[in-house]
Point group: C2
Chain length 435, copies 2
């Protein structure tokens, strides 16, 4: 199929190639192609077209798609494109634009199927059949009273299989799961995850129905949220645009900000180490294990924070689970720290025996150095898992996004503490011999 | 609504509480509740019930749900539960169980709506109306010939709005997007993302239709894949189970394996540093900046690998984009390295002026030390961004999962190189003064 192939290649084409390819299609193909583009690509294609030929394409879009598209262009273009719509649609699109993009209200479509409770089922089906063209979905039919209050919902399937002469009120389900306009899209997507809905109604605080959010919007949301979380966890601001498409300077700002902040935090390691300069001067061998020790703390912290962030995103872990998480991570930290400690101790003692890696000065004390490293690892890994697992919960408590408890953030936090732990253990274990 | 409240609390209840809560419901509520549980919870609840009362519940499940459930129990229980089904269903479930869980075939339902191409639309609607009870969805109707070859598809909406006397063949769309049985679920979910389908047909290599994968299965897949990727990126094996539910030892194995592997890799830092022991002994001040330098490389690498892994998962970046990625990251690495270099230089020179942080020996050379740190940062950050962005592409090329290019993995890779870069720069810049 040429259209789907073109879809795949679309983002790699130059502007003129896009325009030429689009114009080469017959009208039916062009309409199908246009309706399947992502909002960003639709906006771009529309702006490539000469101004006078934009109107029919703009009018082809459903209001929620038009609203999505208008969020991708700048304010001036938005006004121009909005002016291409007819009165009724312009009003509807403007209302949708007023919602924050990440609210249920910003995701919703106002073109839902509505019937009255006292309609007969065959009347309702006939009515649906006539309206079908203009609706986002006809598979859920919402039952509203005269003041638009949501009384119930029936699936097309239920209406379809009910006796023709029965009344909608008797077929509908009156326990409707609905969301408020201001509900965050992440919460809405958790709802979809929980129930297997195709669509969910959006209501205001008077239970008046405003629109529906459909499943296909939610797959995009789930992807979007996962991308945001991943990028925050990677130690940067969420890009909000595809990697290969975002302007270089915008990307640099989103990465440079966090990178500089982490760098400033990491400078504390230089300060911490300067307190132990005398110890390092006496036993240079201590410096050799600094990267090993602090990175182990960072790695174990990164594991713990990933687990907790992801479990929080899926609703598996909540604030009240904090104590259970602490208990798990305390045990895990001790076990994992012990594991690394044993490996580290063995490696140092064996290498010294076999290769005299650590020179003649430190050589006779290889066992003690190994013990220093081993005890430090237990402490650092334990601290890493605890800090990594608690930080996301703490951030949520303070009103921040738990996903900001990134691998680099946790590592920075653990590095400074790790150094203090390491040199403190060293001065206890090596006091009187090397120090 | 008591049922949805119970759903939310479900995983926190003890076994006896679950059983008591379930038994307290009237039959209709119990059926609704049961049908909305996740496969894992359904399996658990079923095994809590006494053996003689399992049959009606087991028979309530659609074949694909039954197959999901059976994948959650051990082999012995699987046989027992399978025996509770009637002949026809048992056969169907066994077929589904034979597919790998992560294939399109493992996700699919065999209860789809099928009609013949020469049926009249009103006949087809009547037929659907009778079958509706037993079908996964009636919203897509598949048109098959006598040998089950997929000829076309019509939405219920299309049939519903078509003239009653027209023939299915004239209403259906004959360019059907379908997937093969063995297609990986991640690829299937990318397809759903691309088109806004409610369901997609699964065919074998003869184009014979085997079943459908529905949108609600895909939301779960998208979540699952994002969780796996996040956990791999956090530097561990994917848990495959909820964090608070996985057995402690299973979790420890999945974390301990990677943590030990990273630890062994990180040991190379000790080896690398031992080559520079003489330099450290001469200028202990050099050791102070080791954590700062290597962590900056790790952080910039973690940013780059997150971006590329996520863009690959969404299909935005493919192998052939490697060159564009390199070009972007080369520029980003130089810019970000320069930024950190300037901050580092200023901080070292200022602190020395104000607090004489770096002692009297190194003091007069604070400018040179600052220059060493600054140049090293440029090199290390550049190396970090390049390694972080290329590693996921390289892993894909070698047949591994790009998400394994975790923050800790990249950091370990960059740490060793970072040390070499740092001490090499130091010996060039400080040669003749401090070294």
């Amino acid at each position: 199929m040429p259209i789907s192939a073109l879809h795949d290649r679309w983002q790699r084409l130059e502007d003129e190639e896009k325009l030429a390819a689009f114009r080469a299609m017959d009208l039916e193909d062009a309409e199908e192609f246009f309706s399947q583009l992502a909002a960003r690509d639709t906006a771009e294609l529309l702006m490539l077209l000469p101004a006078h030929s934009r109107k029919p394409w703009m009018r082809m879009l459903a209001p929620d798609d038009a609203a999505d598209l208008l969020q991708e262009v700048d304010a001036e273009q938005r006004g121009e494109l909005l002016a291409l719509l007819d009165e009724a649609n312009r009003k509807e699109v403007s209302v949708l634009l007023a919602y924050a993009e990440d609210d249920a209200g910003g995701l919703m479509s106002t073109r839902f199927a509505r019937v009255r409770p006292d309609m007969r089922v065959d009347e309702a089906l006939l009515y649906l059949r006539r309206q079908a063209q203009h609706l986002e979905t006809i598979y859920y039919v919402y039952v509203l009273d005269g003041a638009q209050h949501l009384l119930g919902v029936a699936t097309l399937r239920e209406l379809f299989t009910a006796p023709s002469h029965s009344v909608v009120r008797d077929v509908m389900c009156d326990e409707v799961v609905s969301v408020f306009e201001e509900m965050d899209q992440e919460a809405v997507s958790r709802l979809f995850r929980h129930y297997s809905f195709l669509a969910v109604p959006v209501v205001d605080d008077q239970k008046r129905m405003k629109g529906i959010v459909t499943m296909d919007d939610i797959v995009d949301v789930v992807d979007e949220e996962a991308t945001e979380d991943a990028q925050k966890f990677g130690g940067m601001e969420a890009l909000d645009e595809p990697y290969l498409e975002i302007a270089f300077w915008s990307m640099l700002k989103k990465r440079g900000g966090w990178l500089s902040a982490l760098f400033l935090g990491e400078m504390l390691t230089a300060t911490a180490m300067s307190y132990f300069e005398a110890e390092i001067a006496k036993a240079v061998v201590l410096a050799l294990f600094v990267p090993l020790i602090i990175s182990s703390g960072g790695n174990s912290g990164s594991q713990a924070s990933t687990l907790v962030i992801r479990a929080m995103a899926l609703g598996e872990v909540r604030m009240r689970d904090a104590f259970r998480v602490v208990r798990r991570e305390l045990a895990a930290g001790l076990a994992l720290g012990g594991l690394l400690g044993v490996i580290g101790l063995m490696r140092i003692v064996l290498w010294q025996r076999m290769f005299h890696t650590y020179g003649t000065a430190a050589g006779p004390n290889a066992g003690l150095i190994g013990a220093t490293v081993a005890f430090s690892l237990i402490g650092v890994v334990l601290f890493g898992t605890l800090a990594g697992s608690m930080l996301p919960l703490l951030l949520r408590k303070l009103g921040f996004d738990p996903a900001s408890a990134s691998a680099p953030f946790v590592a920075t936090l653990v590095d400074v503490t790790g150094l203090v732990i390491y040199f403190t253990v060293a001065s206890v274990v090596l006091g009187g011999t090397l120090l």
